[in-house]
Structures are given as C-alpha cells and as structure tokens.
C-alpha cells in the first residue's frame, strides 16, 4: 500500500526578471522552474540532483514557503501551503526545516553560534531555559561541534563548521521534513561520513523525511531512497536509487554519471562529455530542453517536449528515445 505523500508539488513554474542595462533595454527573464511535479513520501530520502543553476535551490525554497510569486501548488500533509496562516503556518515552520546551501551568508553574523542553534527553541518557546541549554549541548555534540564553540561568532568558524551549525539548528525542533540544500558540500569526507551516517540514524530514530539536494552523485547514492534528476527547471528522470544508478534512461542522467570524478590518480577524467551550449534558463531551447546537447536526439526532440512518463514501475523519464509511450507535453 502506498502511504500518502508528505509533500506534493504540482506544476511549479518560477521566473525571475534580471534587470538589463541602464536605459530601459529589454529585461531578460530567468526561467528557473518550468513545470515541476514531485512527491515526497513520508519517511523517505528523496535525492535531487542536477546541473548548477537548474533550479534546485529555488525549488527547495518554494517547498519551504520561503519564496512567493510562483505558479502551481504545494501541499504539505494535505494542506495547500500558500493558504497557511497564523498557528498553522507556525506549525509548518516547525515541521519543515531548511539547511541552506551557503553556510556563510545563512547565519546571522551578530549572533553567537550557541544562540543561533538555540533560536528555534527560543522562538517556539520549547522547554525551560535550562532544558534548551541542555538541548543545545546535545545538538552541538550530535554534529561534532565542541562546547567552547557556542560562544563564538560565525566568522570565527571554518566553512565546514558553519555548515554543521546550520544543520544543528535545523535539527533543533525535531522536524518532520528537512530540506537539505547541499548540506555536506563544505565537509571533508570523514566528517561528511559522520554527518551522513547521522542523517540516516536520525531518520531511523525519528522517522524524518529528507529532500536532499546535492550535486555529489556519490553522496546522493549513499543517502537516498529515490532520486530525481533535474535539468533546466524540469524533472527529467525519477527512479529508485538502484534503477537510477544501474539503469539510467535519460541521456542526461547517463552523462552526469559518467562525469563524476573518480578518486584514483591513475584514471583520467572520463571522456564522455556533454557537448553544445550550456543550458541557459534565459534562452530556453525549443522541444526537449536537453536536445541541444543530446548525442541521441531525433527530429521530434527539437520540436516537441516529452512528458514525464512512467516506463517501468516507479521509473519515470522525460525522453522520446525509449518508447512510443512517451507523449508530447502540452
């Protein structure tokens, strides 16, 4: 039996205007998200990968209700998140936490790290001051920070240490869903390993759900149950981790997997490589958004956009190459 999804996104579109030049030259528009449909199931880890600038962080912010002015709908536990107000919004803010991508600008520079981590507890008035202080100790220990770190300011920390501060803060309220935007990108492998193991442990203990955004395919492979691959603001493939890594269908996913660096100086960087123009959300191509770089493109790919189609149970792909069952999207 399928359990109901914890969070659903339907038909999400998001544009950003970029001011251009001085004298009213035409404004360019960044088409950051171009029709995202996504379900996050209760208790799972959904990995989200894709090229830089493809819209991962934008999607994360929209799901966390940190961004307005988008098209489409987001529901959490069955309720439309844009309609949340007052107490229900507070509850949503408690249950859905974000670990931000940039550990440098996401921490308030004027607050000591201890207060930053404790702040959610203070704001939501959870426990007595003594209990909060104790919880602070627990949280810092959990992410591998030392007690003497609590009294320092963010600028006194290294990149990886700041990332762990953001993580501790997100864990403070025992959330249901954590949207993790590159949460381990600044960590060296041994601490990365500790933090990733911690993610799994907490998930098991507390039944957490994660949306895990990362460009590191090894990390995503380790942490995720299912993986979604994004390209220019669209999901191009979605499958169980096994299927995605062992039998990827989209040519884009295949290229991504082939480009991953191997920690072995004897092996040279793989030659498989994406040719053609860089994906440009300002000038979206016609047809399948990937076709300008696709080594296997057919005629139809240049004119029509393929729909995300379930080709095998649980394995969705947006590509005309595999089956006639893939329809053209309106």
């Amino acid at each position: 039996m399928e359990s109901s999804p914890l969070m659903t996104a339907e038909g999400i579109y998001k544009d950003y205007p970029v001011s251009r030049g001085l004298l009213g030259t035409k404004a360019a528009v960044v088409h950051a998200l171009n029709g995202i449909d996504l379900e996050i199931k209760r208790g799972e880890t959904l990995g989200l990968v894709g090229e830089s600038g493809c819209g991962k962080s934008t999607l994360g912010r929209i799901l966390a209700r940190l961004e307005n002015g988008f098209k489409g709908s987001v529901t959490f536990e069955g309720a439309d998140v844009t309609t949340l107000r007052g107490e229900t919004l507070r509850a949503f803010r408690r249950k859905v936490q974000v670990v931000f991508q940039d550990p440098f600008s996401s921490l308030n520079p004027r607050m000591k790290v201890g207060s930053i981590i404790r702040e959610p507890l203070d704001v939501h008035g959870i426990g007595t001051p003594a209990e909060r202080q104790e919880r602070l100790g627990e949280l810092m220990n959990l992410v591998g920070l030392q007690a003497d770190h609590a009294k320092r300011y963010p600028h006194e920390f290294s990149g990886g240490q700041r990332q762990r501060v953001g993580l501790a803060r997100a864990l403070a309220l025992n959330p249901a869903l954590i949207i993790c935007d590159e949460p381990v990108s600044a960590l060296d492998v041994s601490i990365q390993a500790q933090v990733l193991n911690l993610f799994l442990e907490l998930q098991e203990k507390l039944g957490l759900t994660y949306l895990f955004i990362s460009h590191d395919l090894h990390v995503v492979q380790f942490i995720s149950d299912r993986v979604a691959v994004m390209y220019l603001g669209k999901i191009v493939e979605l499958a169980s981790k096994r299927d995605l890594y062992h039998s990827p269908l989209s040519p884009y996913t295949k290229a991504l997997l082939a480009a991953s660096p191997v920690p072995d100086p004897e092996k040279k960087r793989p030659v498989v490589r994406l040719e053609g123009d860089m994906p440009d959300p300002i000038n979206l191509p016609s047809g399948c958004l990937f076709h300008p770089r696709c080594p296997f493109k057919k005629e139809i790919c240049q004119t029509s956009s393929p729909a995300l189609t379930e080709l095998e149970p649980g394995h969705y792909v947006r590509c005309f190459l595999h089956s006639d069952a893939v329809e053209t999207e309106m």
């Binding site: 090229e51 440098f104 380790f222 920690p263 100086p265 960087r269």
Partner: protein, 333 residues
C-alpha cells in the same frame, strides 16, 4: 638535477587567534612549496587550518585577532611577510589571485557582477580601453561556462545560484593571468560536468601560461585527477606531504588512510543498513591541544610514544614523501 626554485615557499607559518575563550592555534609551523606550473592540493579535516593558511599567504587575515608569524613566505624572490600593505595590494589579484571559500569575501552584494569584474580588470590594466575591458569581462564569464554572459553581467550576486556565483569568482581570479591562483574549495557548488570543465580550464592555463595553483578541497576525486602533489593537514599541522600518486597508493599517516576509507563511493551495506566508514571521534579543541600527537585519540595505531610528544615530519617510503607519525621513526635509525 638541480630543481628549479619554487614559485612559493612557505616556511614555518604559524597563525593564532585571540578569542574570549583563549588562544586558538589555527595553523602551526606549516611549511610547503609550490613549483612553477604545478598544482598542489591542500586537504584535511574541516577546521584544520586550510583557509587560514591560504588567507595568510595573501595577508588577508584581520590582525588582531589574528597573529601571524613564521620564518618566511617566499614568492619568487620576495618575502610576503615583509612587504608593505601597498606592495601586497599590487600583488593581490595580479600575481597571486584567490577564489575565496566564502563568496561574499570577493563579491560585493550591492554591485552588479559586471561592474565588479570590470573593476578588477581596470585596477590591474589601467590602460585598457572601455570596450576591451567589457569584452574581456564577457569572455571570462564565457570561459567559466556561464550562459548568456551579456545578460548575467547585469545580475547582482544574490540573483545567481551557488554554482554561478562560484564561477564568477573563478572568472575574477583568472582576470589578470595570475602566476599563482589560490583556490579555496572552488567547485563545492558545481555539479560534476561543469566541475570537470572548470578543472580542465585550470589545467589548460597551467599548461599554456605556466600558472601554479594551490587547490584547497575536501574532494579526493578532484585532488586525484588534478594535482601533482598533496599536502595533508590535521589540527593546524602538516601531517603528510607527497606526490599525489604516492598518497593514493600508499598513504602513511593514519588520518590520510582514514580519509581514503571514508569516500562516499565506498559505503558498505550490511543487512540492508548503510554506513559509511568514518574516522571516529572529533578533532581536539585548538585552544587546548593535548600533549603528544593531536590525532592520537582517534588513531587505531597509537602507542605510548604518541602520548609523549608531537612527532616531527619525517621521511617515509619514497623520496619526497613525509609524514608526521611516530610509527615511521624506528625505520630511521
């Protein structure tokens, strides 16, 4: 054969910070060299002093709370520790450039990125005319694979994704054909395809212009495929130093060995439970470093001597392979 003089030679660099909690020993007696046209990787646990080392080379740490000492940091025939602030300023960005780990150190949030890149070029090439500057700026953005560079010139830093911002910084660091580029985690926000292209670009500049690079990264895949030599740091000290191939083939320091075991590609699944091998324990506080080797609490090979004194860097294995570990001491005498 006489080895060419290194481009950069750091000798005994030591950096401390005064904090309300005590003195933080961030970097302790660090020495290494970078040859002309060489890419050296600097790796080590989060908080071990990589960024502080990099910032000290360019003298960008606020003094106080920082205190920098050391025998010398030689760049060509000058000691950077002795230069005046004016002399340092002409060097920065021109001869030695830096890609900062914190994007907001190099990008000013209130100016469009086009303006900032043009500024960078104009400062160092005051004679270049306006159109040439504009063209060079756009060309730089194109080189780091930013699509629609003309439109992106008009964006403010906050309007860029993490990876775009990182590429803008790389473009700025390359703006003046530096002799040495210090790149502090330059590709953490980049996906693998762009990362590969950027690293290729760096290698191209290394080959064509003889640029040297100090590449700070925690990604051992990148280190393996890009660098010629590696310096491993732990708790403020260099604990191992060798050619890249040697480090991967026969790592000597237990910490380096642990690092290589913790690669996310190498996880084990036991009865449906995933775990990644990691090095248990935590780095010691840099305020009160324990006596002896600072890694010994986490080391599975520690013995008596490790509690008594910090080992010096000593040769191990092949030529030019050095390690700070007592296990290699017997072999000496």
């Amino acid at each position: 054969m006489q080895r060419e003089k290194p481009l950069l030679k750091i000798d005994g660099l030591t950096v401390t910070f005064d904090t309300s909690e005590g003195v933080v020993h961030a970097v302790d007696d660090v020495s290494f060299e970078i040859d002309r046209g060489e890419i050296v990787g600097l790796v080590g646990e989060s908080g071990c002093g990589k960024s502080v080392t990099a910032l000290s080379i360019l003298r960008l740490l606020p003094v106080p709370p920082a205190r920098i000492s050391g025998r010398s940091i030689r760049f060509k025939d000058r000691d950077l520790l002795q230069l005046s602030e004016d002399e340092m300023r002409t060097l920065r960005g021109r001869s030695i450039s830096m890609v900062f780990q914190d994007p907001m150190t190099s990008l000013n949030p209130v100016f469009k990125i086009g303006f900032q890149i043009r500024e960078m070029i104009q400062t160092h090439f005051p004679d270049m005319d306006k159109t040439a500057v504009e063209e060079r700026a756009i060309e730089l953005l194109r080189r780091v694979r930013i699509p629609s560079p003309e439109s992106r010139m008009a964006a403010y830093p906050h309007q860029l994704s993490g990876g775009l911002r990182q590429r803008v910084m790389i473009a700025m660091a390359l703006a003046c054909d530096p002799e040495l580029m210090i790149a502090d985690e330059p590709t953490t926000a980049l996906d693998v395809t762009i990362q590969a292209q950027i690293l290729e670009l760096v290698q191209e500049l290394q080959n064509d212009l003889g640029m040297s690079v100090l590449l700070i990264t925690h990604d051992l895949g990148i280190v393996a495929q890009t660098t010629q030599r590696i310096v491993v740091m732990y708790a403020g000290k260099v604990v191992e130093r060798a050619e890249t191939a040697a480090i991967f083939k026969s790592p000597c320091h237990p910490y380096t060995q642990g690092l290589l075991r913790s690669l996310p590609g190498r996880y084990v699944e036991i009865e449906g439970k995933r775990t990644l091998p990691s090095i248990p324990g935590m780095v010691p506080s840099l305020i009160e470093l324990p006596r002896g080797c600072s890694f010994r609490d986490r080391c599975d090979q520690a013995f008596e001597r490790c509690e008594q004194a910090m080992p010096p860097l000593m040769p191990c294995g092949e030529a030019d392979h050095f390690v700070r570990c007592w296990r290699y001491a017997e072999k000496e005498h």
